[in-house]
């Protein structure tokens, strides 16, 4: 059934992933612009000052993650059930609203209109269409699942991700009520409660699809029904719900929030332990499956999960966090998680879903290989440059006699240069791997246009009208 539904048509879930890839590339261009502004003070200050460039970057790349996560889950849900989605029309509306929202959001930043809060720096009115489109997603998803009995772990994860994203997204707007907003400490407590869990929710969506993909690659369904799969899911859910306090260890908020977060975060050691324990098996599989393009990104993400989790667990210890908080070590962690884990997993998913070749991939193999390794090596350098800058800033923050902020920033300059250059190489690496993928989709699209009627004959595996 899996193969049957892997149609070569450009369907709406595929459009989500393609639009996401475009957002990834433009978002990284904004990131580089921001990086330049660190190096050249006042660069573009008149028209696109950093307070505009930062949200342009953050929203673009966060929407890449969300778009691709939605596209992945919608495609795999249909492959899993072997049926079409409940309402293709709802998906199209969902897609239209999301595209409209992100366009308006990006334009509003350029015009200097802000909601002015991490991570959603857009005007709060623009949250409305996003929330509504998300409700459509939820309804469509639930109706499509059919029976909830005996579902593998990834269905649980998808549903958890969708429900909790909606909840945390709405929660992140509680600040519009003065009761929540009036005091800085109250405001920030609820803000980081919602964001901390929100990241957990999109991780649920992405990890769910990754597990589905691993099942598909290994051609076995036992993994996703196993006890360990569910134990890991429960651990993830537990952390999603209660570990958000590590964002605000230095905020004078309720002490219990911090203690709970500290204790709950340590359960991640179990996940870390499992990764180490399974290392041998992972390497063996990697050797066997490395020729599969989508598997390669799973393998890269595996290495990044290890590195990121190590750093995350360290930063969840308040005594360590008090040093790293407010420094670029936090940024390094975010980059490891969003690029090394989220983006690599989503690229694995994109390669599985979009690589239903309408043109041979062979001529692009070399480009792909170069891009893959370039992206991985430059991400590591990128990460190291941030950790190094963070260590210097941490020392500055803790020093008895602080030199002026601007002098400290000058000391970080070499690392910002390294950061910028590796960021540029990272973008090049990504473009090299994405290019053949998008080109293939264009080929599919035009084939469909010109051979509309013959399509069924040429591709007997295609199920017309699959969304």
């Amino acid at each position: 059934m899996m193969e049957l539904l892997n149609s070569k048509q450009v369907t709406t879930p595929k459009l989500f992933i393609i639009a996401g890839l475009l957002l990834l590339v433009t978002g990284m261009l904004w990131g580089l612009t921001g990086g330049l502004q660190y190096l050249v003070p006042g660069f573009l200050k008149q028209y696109l000052s950093f307070e505009k460039v930062r949200p342009l970057h953050v929203s673009s790349v966060v929407f890449w993650i969300i778009f691709a996560a939605m596209g992945g889950a919608l495609t795999y849900l249909q492959q899993h059930t072997g049926r079409k989605i409940y309402s293709p029309l709802l998906i199209r509306i969902q897609f239209g609203v999301f595209i409209f929202s992100i366009m308006v959001i990006l334009i509003s930043y350029c015009a200097g209109v802000f909601g002015g809060r991490e991570y959603w720096e857009f005007h709060p009115l623009l949250a409305l269409p996003i929330a509504l489109a998300w409700v459509l997603f939820l309804v469509n998803f639930i109706r499509s699942i059919g029976s909830f009995k005996k579902q593998p772990v990834y269905v649980w994860m998808w549903l958890t991700g969708i429900v909790f994203f909606l909840f945390t997204f709405l929660e992140s707007y509680l600040w519009i009520f003065p009761y929540f907003r009036n005091n800085v400490v109250n405001d920030m407590t609820v803000q980081w409660k919602s964001y901390g869990s929100m990241v957990g929710s999109w991780n649920m969506l992405i990890y769910g699809s990754s597990i589905y993909l691993m099942d598909k690659i290994s051609n076995s369904k036992t993994g996703s029904h196993s006890k360990i799969a569910f134990i890991l899911y429960f651990t993830g859910l537990f952390n999603l719900m209660f570990n958000w306090g590590h964002h605000i260890y230095t905020l004078p908020t309720h002490a219990y929030i911090k203690h709970i977060s500290y204790a709950v975060s340590m359960t991640e050691l179990f996940i870390l332990g499992r990764i180490i324990f399974k290392w041998g098996a992972t390497l063996a599989t990697a050797k066997k499956q490395f020729h599969k393009l989508s598997y390669r990104f799973l393998a890269a993400a595996d290495a990044w999960i290890f590195l990121t989790l190590l750093l995350a667990i360290a930063m969840s210890i308040p005594a360590v966090n008090v040093y790293t908080h407010g420094t670029h070590i936090t940024v390094a962690h975010t980059m490891g998680a969003t690029i090394g884990i989220n983006s690599f997993l989503l690229l694995a998913i994109a390669f599985d879903i979009l690589n239903d070749t309408c043109q041979p991939f062979e001529p692009y193999k070399k480009i792909f290989n170069r891009g893959y390794w370039l992206a991985n090596v430059s991400l590591l350098i990128f990460w190291i440059s941030l950790v190094s800058a963070g260590i210097i800033k941490a020392k500055w923050q803790m020093s008895e006699q602080r030199i002026p902020f601007s002098s400290m920033m000058l000391q970080l300059r070499p690392y910002f240069i390294l950061f910028f250059v590796s960021g540029l190489l990272l973008l090049m690496g990504f473009i090299l791997v994405i290019y053949p993928l998008v080109k293939n989709q264009l080929a599919c699209y035009f084939k469909k246009k010109t051979k509309e009627n013959k399509q069924i004959l040429f591709y007997p595996s295609a199920v017309p009208g699959t969304e």
């Binding site: 660190y38 002015g116 929540f180 800085v184 407010g326």
Partner: protein
């Protein structure tokens, strides 16, 4: 293998605790019953409208291009802050703020300053990995 029932029970327990945790937090926020002066709310609105947070941090959260501003009011004083807000810097834009806007932002920064200390040097580190101020 977990049975279907066990899975549902585990998730239900987690969701229930999470709901209670969330609601009890909403009902008993860390700082109670403080209404703020209109200038402070206005200052906060301006802070968000100009997206100061993209470059500056509050309690170590926010952007990295400029310094943390949690306690800038008591550390540097209103006149110093005013100079920055009036002129901007090489990196920080001059927002061409009106006198009243500057005063609101000052009121907000003063209010923020009074909520606590963000300086990591003011924390005591215990052996069990926790910190205290």
């Amino acid at each position: 293998m977990f049975s279907e029932r066990q899975k549902i029970i585990i998730v239900t327990i987690l969701v229930t605790i999470f709901t209670v945790y969330s609601i009890s937090l909403y009902l008993s926020l860390p700082v109670k019953g403080k209404t703020v002066a209109p200038a402070v709310s206005k200052g906060k609105t301006l802070w968000q409208q100009y997206n100061c947070n993209a470059c500056h941090q509050v309690y170590g959260l926010g952007g990295y291009l400029g310094p943390d501003l949690t306690n800038v009011f008591s550390l540097k004083g209103p006149a110093y802050i005013k100079a920055f807000l009036k002129n901007g810097t090489a990196t920080m834009p001059n927002f061409h703020l009106k006198e009243q806007e500057i005063n609101s932002l000052l009121a907000y920064l003063q209010n923020m300053d009074a909520t606590g200390k963000a300086d990591p040097r003011t924390f005591l580190i215990s052996n069990d990995g926790t910190i205290k101020q």
